[in-house]
């Protein structure tokens, strides 16, 4: 009995780490600039495919791909923001929020088709030699890849937390989140802050994509389901806390793992139902402040 519960927890945390990572990126973007990037999952997909390419074409270990994917997705995110979203500055507040969602929707339409042309609809997996290996602790199976993935996620989130609380630029990001007008009056270049935040969000998604590519598969249409996952985590966590988003991701992973035992195929739907309920009755989430 203990074995089953513990194994389920471990499995849940493995997946939850990825959920947390992708949710943090979306939380940043939405918190700082109020853009709900429904194409966020597309950046995850691109990251997964790039790692796949690097792995299959030049044999680069996926964990070593991390910095490359991070940089490429950072650039891609910055370009997307510069070309598309900054053009929205001319609209007033409410229209800006709605139109940025629509622009992101446009990206969501485009990315999967390009991926289909480049990589076909076949499922791709990133499978280095140590892929399936695991070790046992107290009768629980712990895979090397998920464990490393969890460590990567924790390190990145912690690094991000330090960045936001200890560096000047990080603090200016938090200030911009709370009040962008006042931030401008402090001499903070808010437009540049938006650009960098969006790019970082994309980079985080891309890195999560590598982990997904190793633990699951990469397909052209995987973007939207992962965006939805990120949204569920966000609504659980509320905006404003990087650590909160990560923990909410872990919680979602565990909840899914547990409910998979009882309601099997309805697990995904359950997450979405939870999302709707929280959205209606407690929009600030479990950790958020209102």
């Amino acid at each position: 009995m203990f074995g089953l519960v513990a194994q389920t927890l471990v499995n849940g945390i493995n997946v939850g780490a990825m959920y947390g990572l992708i949710a943090v990126g979306l939380s940043l973007t939405f918190g700082v600039m109020k853009i709900l990037n429904v194409a966020h999952g597309e950046f995850l997909m691109v990251g997964g495919y790039i790692a796949f390419w690097l792995f299959t074409l030049i044999g680069l270990d996926p964990f070593l791909c991390l910095p490359f994917v991070g940089v490429i997705l950072f650039v891609l995110g910055a370009l997307s923001y510069k070309l598309l979203f900054s053009g929205l500055a001319k609209f007033h507040e409410e229209a800006k929020v709605k139109n940025s969602l629509l622009v992101a929707f446009g990206l969501f339409l485009i990315f999967p088709q390009i991926a289909r042309v480049l990589w076909t609809s076949d499922e791709r997996a990133i499978t280095p030699a140590y892929s399936g290996e695991s070790f046992a602790i107290l009768g629980i199976r712990v895979g090397y890849v998920p464990l490393a993935g969890l460590l990567v996620a924790v390190v990145i989130i912690f690094g991000l937390h330090l960045f936001l609380t200890k560096t000047y630029f990080g603090k200016s990001v938090r200030g911009t989140t709370e009040n962008w007008k006042a931030a401008k009056l402090m001499g903070i270049n808010v437009e540049r802050t938006y650009l960098i935040t969006f790019a970082v969000g994309a980079a985080l998604a891309g890195i999560a994509g590598i982990l997904v590519g190793m633990m699951q598969t990469v397909t052209p249409d995987m973007g939207m389901p992962w965006t939805l996952k990120a949204l569920i985590v966000l609504v659980l966590a509320g905006i404003g806390s990087v650590g909160g988003a990560f923990f909410a991701g872990l919680i979602l992973g565990i909840v899914e793992a547990v409910s998979a035992i009882f309601i099997g195929p309805y697990t995904m739907a359950l997450g979405l139902v939870i999302f709707l309920l929280i959205l209606m009755f407690r929009p600030q989430g479990l950790f958020g402040k209102e």
Partner: protein, 315 residues
């Protein structure tokens, strides 16, 4: 009511042409092409009412299309009732479902409404894929006597009715109120417009039409998995057609639908299927950023430039 023959004549001409198409050709690819275009016109006009006129970007439209389609299919094929009844039953089911979720749904404002509707449709899709995993196939007897013509005329009828419905809404008090809500919901509320009621009525009309369209598809499709009726593509296709064509206009979705199906046909010859969506995605972004009234606006501007008139947009 003064009759503007310059406007009526081309419309009558097109209608006569469309009525004669199945009498002139029996090629299934041509008829299917027309059928799909007309179906898309009906579907996109139904979304146009809630998304275009009321300005509520409902990303869960597929839920109502699917509800109408699945209900109609079951009433017709599994309970053996005549199809017209099934069609009506499907539309009613879709509308009832809309009434059920309409009030709670509209408590969500702005982007929360957008995401909420998307998630709702997604839940339905997953649930139906799980509880009805088998494909729903037309019985052999029906397949043997299957003719595309009644489907064609049915979709033609509904395409025309949907355009008429949108025309009627745009000219009515409801339409005025909806436009006020779309421009600035708070201001509309402050000036006495019952925004909740307006949104709800638009929603019910929109979902009723979507349910009918779904029923037509149920009549047309030989075999499909029920979950597939709730695929987000039914929503997204309608959304991009309306936006690119001209959101909140009457002709916009018509132009958009024709362009959409044509582009799909054309591109599928050279590129993997789905590229038309990418093209529309690019156009969609251009419309959001620069051309809010879509192709209608573009055509009007070009026409005025060619005719040397001032560029006043008359929508």
């Amino acid at each position: 009511m003064a009759v503007d023959w310059k406007k009526i004549l081309p419309i009558v001409g097109i209608l006569i042409f469309l009525i004669f198409v199945p009498l002139v050709t029996s090629r299934t690819d041509v008829l299917t092409w027309f059928f799909l275009t007309l179906l898309y016109i009906a579907l996109s006009q139904s979304w146009n009412i809630i998304g275009g006129f009321a300005g509520q970007v409902n990303l869960g439209h597929a839920a109502f299309f699917g509800a109408g389609a699945l209900t109609a299919r079951y009433i017709w094929l599994h309970f053996g009732l005549p199809f017209p009844l099934a069609l009506l039953g499907g539309a009613v089911a879709a509308t009832l479902f809309a009434m059920l979720i309409g009030l709670p749904a509209f408590r969500l404002k702005g982007i929360y409404f957008v995401i909420g509707t998307l998630v709702l449709a997604e839940i339905l899709r997953l649930v139906f894929y799980t509880i009805l995993p088998e494909a729903d196939v037309m019985p052999m007897k029906l397949l043997g006597t299957y003719s595309l013509n009644p489907r064609y005329y049915l979709s033609l009828l509904f395409a025309v009715l949907s355009v008429a419905a949108v025309y009627w809404v745009s000219r009515s008090r409801l339409g005025m109120g909806l436009l006020a809500v779309r421009e600035d919901e708070e201001a509309a509320e402050a000036s006495g417009v019952n925004t909740q009621k307006h949104k709800l009525v638009a929603f019910l009309i929109s979902t009723f039409m979507a349910g009918l369209t779904g029923g037509i598809y149920a009549y047309y499709g030989a075999a499909f998995r029920p979950g597939g009726l709730f695929e987000p593509v039914w929503t997204f296709d309608a959304v991009i057609i309306v936006f690119v064509g001209g959101v909140g206009t009457i002709i916009g979705p018509i132009i958009g639908s024709v362009f959409f199906v044509l582009l799909k046909q054309f591109l599928s010859l050279y590129l993997p299927g789905g590229m038309h969506v990418a093209v529309f995605g690019v156009l969609f972004i251009i419309v959001v950023l620069f051309l809010p009234e879509g192709l209608v606006e573009l055509i009007t501007k070009v026409r005025h430039r060619l005719l040397g008139e001032s560029s006043q947009i008359v929508s």
